[in-house]
């Protein structure tokens, strides 16, 4: 009973703060409204005794939103991020897409004739998750990781204003010409 109440409370928080991402007029509020939404989802996962997944959701999402604040000043020219601004664009198409997706997903969830549960959860869900990720799904993880890292490195390389030729000269052999020196004596 109490668990049900907490679950519904968390669900309302998740949905309302998720919706408020599009209602507020500042990047900071939108970012952290999204963070609150994810924290509520993480807490709901904790409620289902999926401890590891729940905490990792909280950890990753709060960290991600903090990093978003870094990107806000790193990559957004003129810092519109620091001024009040609208959080929506392409309103009509976006609203149509959102409503369609919501109707399809919630309709599916309500109308599908879900099968009864077969089997029971593993006694140690953390270990079971680890086995699944590191065992049968290891190949997938190994394939995805380099692709993701390559994407990130490529994204930064494309966006960074100064590349290695700017730092080390045309022959890449000169000492690094950085506006500020790094912390390990270079």
């Amino acid at each position: 009973m109490l668990a049900d109440l907490v679950f519904w409370g968390l669900s309302v928080v998740a949905v309302v703060s998720g919706a408020s991402v599009f209602r507020v007029d500042s990047m900071a509020r939108a970012t952290y409204a999204l963070a609150v939404s994810f924290v509520a989802v993480g807490a709901a996962l904790l409620l289902m005794r999926l401890d590891y997944l729940g905490l990792i959701t909280v950890l990753m999402m709060v960290m991600e939103m903090a990093v978003m604040a870094v990107y806000m000043v790193m990559f957004m020219g003129m810092n519109p991020a620091l001024m009040p601004m609208s959080m929506v664009h392409g309103k009509r198409a976006a609203v149509a897409a959102a409503v369609t997706v919501f109707v399809v997903l919630s309709g599916g969830a309500l109308l599908v004739d879900w099968p009864a549960r077969r089997g029971a959860p593993a006694p140690d869900t953390v270990a079971a998750l680890g086995e699944a990720l590191m065992g049968s799904k290891m190949l997938v993880m190994m394939a995805i990781s380099p692709v993701m890292i390559a994407t990130m490195v490529a994204g930064i390389a494309v966006a960074a204003p100064r590349g290695r030729y700017d730092r080390f000269g045309d022959d890449l052999r000169s000492p690094a010409a950085d506006p500020q020196r790094g912390g390990v004596g270079r």
Binding site: A28, L59, A66, A69, Q180, R181, G182, G183
Partner: protein, 314 residues
């Protein structure tokens, strides 16, 4: 002790745990006040009442208001540190007793120290003041450098104990060498991480005087009190978490386990307070390279060694 394991106590004890954390934070602030008094030529005892005086002063101070401040986010950030610290101690076993014996207690602690990222940046963002905002970004720059080493430093004891449950990690050190001796690099990096997420000592530039106080610039009255108390509470919670993770938990002669946990916590906490005045401030832009090129490889090698030994033992 290990044969009994850790006992989860009723939630009604939570206020007692909070009071204990507050007591440790007060003691740390008193010690810091004493050191400050001695540093300025007064007898050390003159500074012992600093936390009480400062609390009384800030409670009576009128709140400063800035133009176009984002009060909601500002307050959330200012109070966030204390909340994170309180949530951290939930999984720290006091001898045999713990409030929540989570199977993933180590990850819980990690998630809470990530919440500090958000809190400090929000405290910097909220007042709509340039100095505060720069302070908030200084913290994020430091955080991007210290967090990954800290995560791997937390991994090492968990790997050695074969469990993410904090009680299991403490029990795994029973009768053997404590993890502080088995994995000193991980312990040092963990201590670095604790001082860093407490915006303390060498990691204080986000609240640095060169920035007119950084994230503290516009904080006044009870908001400032919450933020400062939160820093001490985080320092205390981090020290308390080091005890089951690296310092053998409640193990020790004569005294009961819960008292040993408190003694070890207080000792580590006083070390943190004392080193504050002994170490230079780290520049966020330079520390990034140190974190990624020095600390991260070091702690990864540490985890590798620990993992190989753990596999070897089977």
């Amino acid at each position: 002790m290990s044969d009994v394991g850790v006992v989860e106590v009723a939630a009604i004890w939570a206020p007692a745990a909070a009071a204990l954390l507050a007591l440790l934070a007060m003691a740390a602030a008193a010690l810091d006040g004493a050191l400050a008094a001695r540093g300025s030529g007064l007898p050390a005892t003159a500074g012992l009442s600093a936390p009480v005086n400062e609390t009384a002063r800030l409670l009576r101070q009128r709140r400063r208001v800035t133009v176009a401040a984002d009060s909601l986010l500002w307050r959330a950030g200012g109070g966030g540190l204390l909340v994170a610290a309180l949530l951290m101690v939930v999984v720290v076993p006091l001898g045999r007793f713990t409030l929540a014996d989570l199977p993933v207690g180590v990850v819980w602690f990690n998630a809470m120290d990530i919440v500090v990222w958000a809190a400090v940046w929000l405290a910097g963002w909220g007042p709509n003041s340039a100095h505060s905002l720069v302070g908030g970004y200084r913290f994020l720059a430091l955080a991007l450098a210290y967090e990954l080493p800290l995560m791997f430093a937390l991994t090492a004891p968990a790997v050695a104990a074969g469990s993410l449950r904090v009680g299991d990690v403490a029990a795994a050190q029973d009768g053997g060498w404590w993890y502080v001796a088995q994995m000193p690099v991980a312990f040092l990096v963990f201590c670095l991480g604790v001082t860093a997420f407490s915006v303390w000592g060498p990691f204080a530039p986000p609240a640095g005087t060169d920035l007119a106080g950084g994230v503290l610039t516009e904080l006044s009255g009870v908001d400032r009190l919450l933020f400062l108390a939160g820093r001490y509470a985080l320092l205390a919670a981090g020290s308390a978490f080091a005890v089951p993770l690296f310092l053998g938990g409640g193990a020790g002669p004569v005294l009961p386990g819960w008292l040993w946990v408190l003694v070890k916590t207080a000792l580590l906490l006083s070390v943190f307070v004392v080193v504050r005045r002994r170490l230079p401030a780290l520049r966020p832009d330079r520390f990034a390279e140190v974190g990624w090129l020095v600390l991260l490889p070091l702690v990864l090698v540490q985890v590798l060694v620990v993992a190989v030994i753990a596999v070897g033992r089977g």
